[in-house]
């Protein structure tokens, strides 16, 4: 529980990180009409996928922020040595990542949707798909960050390692939003979330011991 408190405290004390993720998202989305076309019909077709990809990139960028800081100041090794179950530590880290990097983006999705000429119905389902799908992204990003902690060029390595795993939530999320809520994809996405919640923290925990030994 104190792990969660600490994570929230750190989150509240670094609004700069939240703003960084938000700005990145908005700026990248703004680039696309400039790069492709201002035609709202074309933008509308691309909008769901674009916002999902931008969310994915934001997630990757922020992946190792909190872990790296804990690794460097030595609190990660104390957490490994502590009595709290390591899978819980990893889960809390994922929650922290989601709250800092992804939730702000979800909140600002209506704005992004307007920039890309999205219909409000699609926007609703997009937000739903992001709400269910982004936690999966966080869980994988923390796993990847833990694997690359302390290694040279960890950032590039992170992308190479994580890319295949981010495809299912990406595909399922975009499909759910683009078919305007067809429950099939919704169930699959929710199922993916449940399975990820139950397995990934444990995988991350086993990698944590390796990371701390570096």
């Amino acid at each position: 529980m104190s792990l969660l408190k600490r994570e929230l405290r750190l989150l509240l004390r670094s609004p700069a990180e939240v703003v960084q993720s938000l700005l990145f998202g908005v700026l990248v989305v703004a680039l696309f009409p400039l790069a492709i076309t201002p035609d709202p019909d074309v933008l509308r077709q691309l909008s769901v996928g674009l916002i999902w990809v931008v969310t994915l990139l934001t997630s990757l960028l922020a992946a190792d922020r909190s872990l790296l800081s804990d690794f460097e100041d030595g609190s990660l090794e104390q957490m490994v040595l502590g009595v709290a179950p390591l899978w819980w530590v990893c889960l809390v880290k994922s929650v922290g990542h989601w709250l800092t990097a992804l939730l702000p983006l979800i909140v600002i999705t209506p704005l992004l949707g307007i920039m890309l000429a999205m219909t409000s119905e699609t926007m609703l389902w997009l937000m739903a798909s992001l709400l269910v799908g982004t936690p999966v992204l966080s869980l994988f990003c923390v796993l990847g960050a833990m694997m690359t902690l302390g290694l040279n060029r960890g950032g590039a390595l992170l992308l190479v390692i994580l890319m295949p795993f981010l495809v299912p939530p990406l595909v399922l999320g975009t499909q759910w939003a683009m078919t305007v809520g067809q429950p099939f994809y919704g169930y699959l996405l929710a199922g993916l979330l449940c399975v990820s919640l139950m397995t990934l923290p444990f995988a991350t925990a086993s990698v944590a011991r390796i990371a701390v030994g570096r």
């Binding site: 405290r9 750190l10 030595g74 609190s75 502590g82 009595v83 030994g213």
Partner: protein, 179 residues
Amino acid sequence: MFEDLDFEVQSGEVLQIIGDNGVGKSTLFRILAGLLEDYDGKVEIAARSCLFLGHRYGLNPRLTVLENVQFLMALQGEVPSEDTLLTALAKLGLLDETQQRCGELSEGQRKRVALTRFLLSNAELWLLDEAFSALDHHGRQTLLTLCQSHVDRGGGLVFSSHQALDPLMVDKTLRLGPA
């Protein structure tokens, strides 16, 4: 990295590990603490609980002294009252700094914050890598007193230091060096 290491520390005993920089003292400490598993051989810890302090103190720079100590204590499963915490911090000369963020403190102050949980906890075995680094004379005295009372209560202590310390009752010495 090492070969043929064989040593034992009983309760109430103090082991000092000596060696030049780079010979592997910190690696040995990390193995003892359970952070490194890449070795052949056995490490048996009969103590019920163990505290480790390495080169990095485990203090988040954006949290205050009090918050950091609370967190580190919680990691050991202990939740002392705020009064207990403040008393301990006072003994280490940190009463004025409890609400300051650890990022703003000097290294010596941070070392003393990290040592606070040693004062508060009942762990049987202490592992202190570079125990006396970053401490001024007053800090060193405080740490010596801390260690002495720990050993008197029957706890075991393994530490490393560059400085020879006559006042501390060292029972055994382990010297690491080239073969």
